[in-house]
């Protein structure tokens, strides 16, 4: 299989503003091309758009707005992990030889229809994600004897880290008490435990090894990919305190990259809600079951940005179709030693965890210099 590298990226700030989906897609691709003025758009073989927005024909529309006439142009939707799924599709096009250069652009509006999976009637009248998150939180806290106060550190840490991310939705820091005193959505979930839907876009350019080396001296290689879908319905999750799809996807990605989890220097984790961060860390093997909060606490106390340096979904915001791409851009910046105040020490190997619908589907990527 030929190597696939990430050679350029662009992004918009994540906001609660009302913009057309086409406009924000164009804004992040424009940022990409402005930052890489020597990039030849004629070399782009495919344009993939990641979104849950219902607008039609977005990939050809985006191609036309950028003056690109690709061979391949289509959208990809898979709720919250649409972004990394699009990157996997781009990887596949390149590694198969169907394309040498692929533009992947993800975007969402604050009012995305992807926030609720209408099909999942097993949730009864409790379809909003706050209900599965509440059941996860209750189950996790009870199983591992974690208090609300202990769990609040996830939100405190990620808002703190988002403050160093100029594109993050959150501009504030919070104390543990602020999180506990924030609006009580359910008995087991406060407002500041939640990532917020928002408007934003992120774009990256992937290329084959030959084309990548021609265009940049610092490509970041995708060395591992793992994906797993266990179901679509939340109630098919047999465990409410671990993430089966994440465990399988993580193992696959690390096996493909011939790495161990202990080799990972920096990671973006899909913290849609506070409890998701320790659950994902444990399911990926960063810690033993029930010890995810110990790791998070330690990182917070030592001001170590190893996990979710851009602030996670809780701090950065969660524009569904853009999230996985924005996570990937963060790891690229970290590996290129270009993450400014968020920079972690000696980042050589990075991991991205992006999931959908209560962890019924997960994608894990491993990136290396």
């Amino acid at each position: 299989m030929s190597k696939v590298g990430i050679i350029a990226y662009g992004t918009t700030p994540f906001t609660r503003e009302d913009h057309k989906i086409e406009s924000i897609l164009h804004k992040s691709t424009n940022d990409l091309f402005q930052n890489n003025p020597d990039m030849d758009k004629k070399e782009i073989d495919a344009v993939l758009v990641s979104t849950n927005n219902n607008s039609k024909y977005l990939s050809p529309v985006l191609s036309e707005m950028n003056g690109i006439q690709p061979k391949i142009a289509h959208s990809i939707e898979s709720l919250c992990n649409s972004g990394t799924n699009s990157i996997v599709s781009a990887f596949s096009y390149i590694s198969s030889g169907l394309a040498d250069m692929v533009l992947v652009s993800g975007a969402e509006r604050y009012d995305s229809p992807g926030q609720i999976l209408e099909w999942d009637n097993s949730r009864g009248e409790f379809k909003h994600p706050i209900f599965w998150a509440s059941l996860f939180s209750k189950s996790y806290k009870q199983k591992y004897k974690i208090s609300n106060e202990q769990l609040s550190i996830v939100s405190v840490k990620n808002h703190k880290q988002a403050k160093e991310n100029p594109n993050a939705l959150s501009k504030k820091t919070y104390t543990s008490q602020d999180v506990l005193n924030s609006k009580k959505l359910t008995e087991d979930l406060r407002l500041l435990d939640c990532s917020r839907p928002c408007t934003g876009s992120a774009s990256i350019l992937l290329a084959s090894e030959k084309v990548a080396k021609k265009n940049t001296d610092t490509p970041i290689w995708i060395t591992g990919i793992g994906q797993k879908t266990t179901s679509a319905g939340f109630t098919k999750n047999m465990s409410l305190s671990s993430m089966e799809s994440t465990k399988i996807a993580g193992e696959s990605a690390l096996k493909m990259s011939n790495r161990n989890i202990s080799d990972v220097d920096v990671a973006e984790i899909h913290d849609a809600f506070s409890v998701c961060e320790p659950m994902a860390l444990e399911s990926l093997g960063f810690t033993n079951p029930g010890e995810g909060m110990d790791m998070i606490n330690n990182l917070h106390e030592t001001n170590n940005f190893k996990i979710n340096p851009r602030g996670g979904l809780i701090g950065a915001g969660h524009p569904l179709g853009a999230t996985g791409i924005s996570q990937t851009i963060e790891i690229v910046q970290q590996l290129q030693n270009n993450a400014q105040k968020r920079q972690t020490d000696n980042a050589e190997i990075g991991l991205i965890h992006n999931m959908s619908a209560a962890s019924t589907s997960s994608t894990v990527l491993v990136l290396e210099k």
């Binding site: 097993s122 949730r123 009864g124 009248e125 209900f131 087991d188």
Partner: protein
Amino acid sequence: MSFESELSKGKFCIPECTKCEKIIWPPSGFCDKCTGITSLRKGEFEGKIIEFSKQNEDYFCMVEFYNSIRLIAKMEKIPKKDQIVKITKCGISDKSYFFTVV
């Protein structure tokens, strides 16, 4: 007679394959194992509370039936894990199913 037509009348039925007898959830016309046609088992079914939380005055619980069907139902009184419950009210409202257990 479909699962949804019965549910809309307030009757909860168990969808089951007529060939291999596998319980199919979420409800579907076909078996996901042997492709057989499904039928509905009627009756009063007992479920077990797997987990629960609370919003305002109402509890919401994940309830399991026959080790295979799991759904989220409303409950007025304080639930307990592993408590055995029955569906007392169900239906379809705004295209969404709803269930209440006691």
